[in-house]
Amino acid sequence: MHELPVTQGILTVALETAEQYGGYRITAINLVIGDMTSIVDDSVQFYFDALSQGTAAEGAKLHFRREAAAAKCLECGHEYPVTPPLNPFCPQCDSAFLQISGGKEFFIESIEVDDENTGG
């Protein structure tokens, strides 16, 4: 549900960027989304298809690069990627003392435009 305003934000930024670079049609949007943000790819694509109709981004493909969070065991030092729900114990030594970081990425890395044809 929160993907709706998020997707609106993605569309707005993508359209503004394409506009600045000569108003080309957008063919793809490359997103980076961390697993701690609880943003669901399918929902974003779903809202995007609806919101982008009639814009220069209609039909654009969304590419998601998911970033896992990183867990570090405070007892044995083991480091490994995690996605929620978190396992409360270190898979290596069973310790419950962990430190989780990262996975908070949430941005558009780039857009791809069709610079052979202008319009929108």
């Binding site: 929160h2 934000g9 609880s38 978190l86 409360p88 419950a96 989780i100 941005f107």
Partner: protein, 220 residues
């Protein structure tokens, strides 16, 4: 052609959040964004906090949670200024909603502004409001695994409140397990264990809150 993008996704919201922050600062308003699951006990906790404030600290409330069992009327009956925001079914408050509600308050007469976000542990943390403090409220009734299931929101908290401590035993709530999960995702946020119903633990929280507020107003 590939074009790198610098501007960010929620820039629109974040800009208005920054304006709100500025407005709060100019008026000496210390604002709190309270986030929790529905029924966690946010409103009860806000009321308990207000009851424990010294007389010279003037509170106000923005009520964003329509599903609450205690509504804006209950708050307003205590003589506390309150605005109800209708999110139209939205799952979180955003900065423009907060901005639009501010003209309804006499901001210079407010010291503490409690903003009760929509009951939801998934998304409110992505949308900044311009508050000085992010408060995540969890209750013993929801179980001790909340930080493991919703690490994202616990990671963004400046302070975590565990409420309904009066019924901790009933729910066989493992406090140590909860605290370990919280510590794993957030090493900075202090935890206050309280009961909004009995008022237990509220004094310690209020003392901490007022201390943070003093730091904030001193820096203006």
């Amino acid at each position: 052609m590939k074009i790198p993008v610098v501007k960010q996704i929620l820039t629109g919201n974040d800009q208005i959040a920054a304006e709100n922050e500025q407005t709060f600062r100019e008026n000496g308003v210390f604002a709190l964004n309270l986030m929790a699951a529905p029924g966690a006990g946010k409103t009860t906790f806000i009321l308990a906090t207000i009851d424990h404030l010294p007389a010279d600290v003037r509170p106000a409330v923005i009520e964003g949670d329509l599903a609450s069992t205690i509504d804006a009327d209950t708050i307003s009956q205590r003589g506390v200024p309150v605005i109800q925001i209708n999110t139209g079914g939205g799952c979180h408050l955003d900065a423009p909603m907060v901005r639009n509600s501010l003209p309804h308050f006499a901001l210079s007469d407010i010291d503490l502004l409690f903003i009760e976000n929509v009951g939801n542990l998934v998304c409110p943390s992505n949308f900044k409001l311009g508050t000085a403090l992010s408060v995540v409220v969890s209750s013993t009734a929801e179980g001790h695994d909340k930080p493991y299931k919703y690490p994202g929101i616990f990671a963004t908290a400046d302070v975590v409140i565990l409420t309904k401590a009066d019924i901790l035993e009933v729910f066989e709530f493992d406090r140590e397990y909860f605290e370990r999960g919280l510590k794993a995702v957030n090493q900075h946020a202090p935890l206050f264990v309280v009961s909004g119903r009995t008022g237990a633990g509220i004094d310690a929280w209020v003392a901490w809150l007022l201390d943070r507020r003093r730091g904030y107003t001193a820096a203006i």
